[in-house]
């Protein structure tokens, strides 16, 4: 009697969500869960449809990422069918385990705002002011209108408030996509060659920005500093080579953590109070930490024994959530 858990991811086009799914699959194998993964293909409507299809299948639990304000709808659907749900990645503005949605048992996600803030801080700390005494940066945002893009941008905004010596030369929309980001940033940089730092909204965006810089004969990490987010393997490589100043991430683990908690819930062990609303602290990465990172997280993945964290298998398991931390 393997329980069936349904997962809906916003897209599979991006490496981030593939890592998320891969980690969950590993967990499902270890825990003995049948995992049904559905792809919303970047469409809000398909997200809702996929949730409906999971409910129609009467899965035992659902993990989904409520992009495009789909939280309320998804939770309502699941509530009618009495299916427990854990939301990941994007916080929906209402807390878990309330009367409205008793089946909404937990939220696990990163603080995008915090990540955006940390990226900005790391960037501001390194770049040098120009002739007018201002540090000039360019901003390449994520897909306009997604909560992730908005929250990260909010973090940047907070950092900007604290740094009056930083001037934003311009902002473009990179759509979280490498080639779009490259083209958009090329133009931005042409218009503002005084830019010495770039805040890029995710991994693909940062890679696009670095390609644009190289293409114009600039060395990322020397002439222009770039910060990004996601800890995708190529981002780690870029940090290692010094092209990328700072990266932060690891939050694709959230799905696996959610799976453990949901599995226990299905098996009759509720999520302990206090562990139902987790904002993951993300793992920052700079060049000097790369060696440590590779040692601690071979292949980018922490050693994580799912059964060890499941209270069904291990009575006095530590909380499912395990923040990526350097060993020293």
């Amino acid at each position: 009697d393997e329980p069936t858990v349904g997962v809906v991811v916003p897209t599979l086009d991006a490496q981030f969500w593939n890592s998320y799914v891969a980690f969950m699959k590993k967990g499902a194998d270890e825990l003995g869960v049948k995992l049904v993964v559905l792809n919303a293909d970047n469409k809000p409507d398909q997200m809702v449809k996929s949730l409906e299809d999971l409910v129609a299948q009467k899965v035992d639990g659902i993990v989904f990422t409520p992009y495009w304000a789909t939280a309320a709808r998804g939770l309502t659907l699941a509530k009618e069918a009495e299916i427990p749900v854990i939301l990941t990645d994007s916080y929906p503005d209402f807390s878990p385990q309330t009367e409205r949605f008793p089946n909404y048992i937990a939220f696990i996600g990163p603080s995008d705002e915090d990540a955006g803030y940390q990226m900005a801080k790391a960037l501001f700390a390194v770049i040098k002011p120009g002739p007018d005494g201002k540090k000039v940066i360019g901003v390449v945002n994520g897909t306009a209108g997604t909560s992730v893009a908005i929250d990260r941008r909010k973090g940047l905004e907070d950092a900007l408030k604290e740094a009056p010596d930083v001037r934003v030369a311009g902002e473009v929309d990179g759509n979280f996509v490498r080639d779009t980001s490259q083209t958009a940033f090329e133009s931005l940089f042409q218009g503002n060659p005084d830019i010495t730092g770039v805040w890029a909204a995710n991994g693909g965006t940062a890679t696009g920005v670095m390609a644009a810089l190289k293409n114009q004969g600039k060395a990322p990490g020397k002439d222009v500093m770039v910060v990004g987010m996601d800890l995708n393997p190529e981002n780690v490589d870029a940090v290692k080579s010094g092209d990328l100043l700072f990266d932060i991430g690891g939050h694709w683990l959230q799905g696996g953590f959610a799976l453990v908690a949901l599995f226990d819930q299905i098996k009759g062990i509720p999520v302990p109070p206090g562990a139902d609303n987790v904002k993951l602290k993300l793992l920052p990465l700079t060049k000097d930490r790369v060696a440590q990172f590779e040692k601690d997280f071979p292949g980018g993945v922490p050693t994580y024994d799912f059964r060890q964290h499941s209270r069904f298998y291990n009575k006095d398991a530590k909380p499912a959530v395990f923040e990526m931390q350097y060993s020293n």
């Binding site: 599979l12 049904v36 792809n39 970047n42 469409k43 409507d45 409906e52 299809d53 304000a69």
Partner: protein, 333 residues
């Protein structure tokens, strides 16, 4: 090969092998293809998943298909007239936004702004085509980008949620077990059927698709009919937007992205050719069901998400391959 092309690929009188009674019998068979396709899918998925053929799942399919259906009804007119509309997804988003912004104050009456916004967007498209003489593909491609841009500008990406009880009651509850949205979809379908088959307007739309120059010289007010037809599509997208908003309980900037392709596919799979002159509401409904069932069925059967799009694209092409009536279309572009 050579002779073959000459006799079959042409729009000549000779193109029909069998005239009269036989021809119409043959057409009945052709019309049966979308239905056969649907039945085939149902059989396959029933085997693959025991829960597929349950009342509750079929109801879900109907619910999922409603937004697509409502937009596709309007698109049937536009395609029947030989034009196209790529902006439907954006109009849906615009209308959902109008709904979300007014639902709290207007309740169920938020349908009025939804329809109004949709109709105005359709009006713009229609005028661009009929008066501005900008080909509909390009006019609506531009409109798609602009309307979506307007939604984005308004919301700045933040979702606008819908919480009004009365509104949600009216548009998402069930009566006798049937969700209201499905009832709305069916009523609109009957109306669209009536308009296409029973009204002068429907005949004029068809005549424009069948031969625009003939229609003009016969005194049909082609420009006006085209504008009306886009307004109709816009208004239906308005309703689709409202239903989509009600379904998601929110309007977001990404709502309805890519919907145009599903809508066009549903209409064409249903047997309305892009060359115009022919159009079937029942066919469109079958097309909507095929497309909706396909993704519901694959999800139910747990088809690998990495494979789903490949399957979906292939089935789409196959569906058109078998349903298209090459005798009626002659030249296929």
């Amino acid at each position: 090969m050579e002779t073959n092309e000459t006799s079959s690929a042409t729009k000549t009188p000779n193109a029909t092998g069998e005239p009269g009674v036989n021809a119409s019998r043959f057409e009945v068979v052709k019309r049966g293809f979308p239905l056969a396709m649907l039945v085939l899918l149902i059989v396959i998925f029933s085997i693959a998943s025991p829960r597929f053929l349950t009342f509750s799942n079929l109801l879900i399919v109907l619910q999922q298909g409603t937004v697509l259906l409502v937009a596709a009804l309007g698109m049937t007119f536009v395609i029947m007239a030989g034009s196209i509309d790529l902006s439907v997804g954006s109009i849906v988003a615009l209308a959902a936004l109008a709904t979300a912004l007014t639902a709290d104050s207007l309740g169920a009456a938020a349908i009025i702004p939804a329809i109004a916004v949709g109709a105005v967007a359709g009006l713009v498209n229609g005028v661009l085509l009929a008066k501005g003489k900008v080909p509909s593909f390009i006019a609506t491609m531009g409109a798609m980008v602009v309307y979506r841009g307007i939604v984005l500008l308004f919301t700045r990406g933040a979702p606008v949620s819908i919480e009004d009880e009365q509104f949600l009651d009216v548009y998402t509850n069930r009566t006798l077990g049937i969700p209201h949205s499905v009832i709305i979809g069916l009523v609109l379908m009957v109306i669209a059927y009536g308009i296409i088959n029973r009204t002068v307007f429907g005949r004029e739309v068809r005549a424009i698709g069948g031969g625009e120059r003939v229609a003009i010289l016969t005194g049909i007010q082609v420009a006006r009919v085209k504008v009306y037809m886009y307004v109709l599509l816009g208004a239906l997208c308005g309703i689709a937007g409202l239903l989509q908003g009600a379904r998601a309980m929110a309007a977001t900037a990404q709502l309805g992205e890519g919907l145009e392709l599903d809508v066009i596919a549903a209409v064409v799979v249903g047997g309305t050719p892009l060359t115009g002159g022919v159009g079937s509401v029942v066919g469109t409904m079958l097309g909507v069901l095929i497309i909706t069932l396909l993704s519901n069925g694959m999800n139910m059967a747990g088809v690998d998400p990495y494979l789903q799009n490949i399957v979906k694209g292939t089935v789409l092409v196959c569906a058109v391959f078998v349903t298209i009536d090459r005798k009626k279309i002659g030249i296929i572009k």
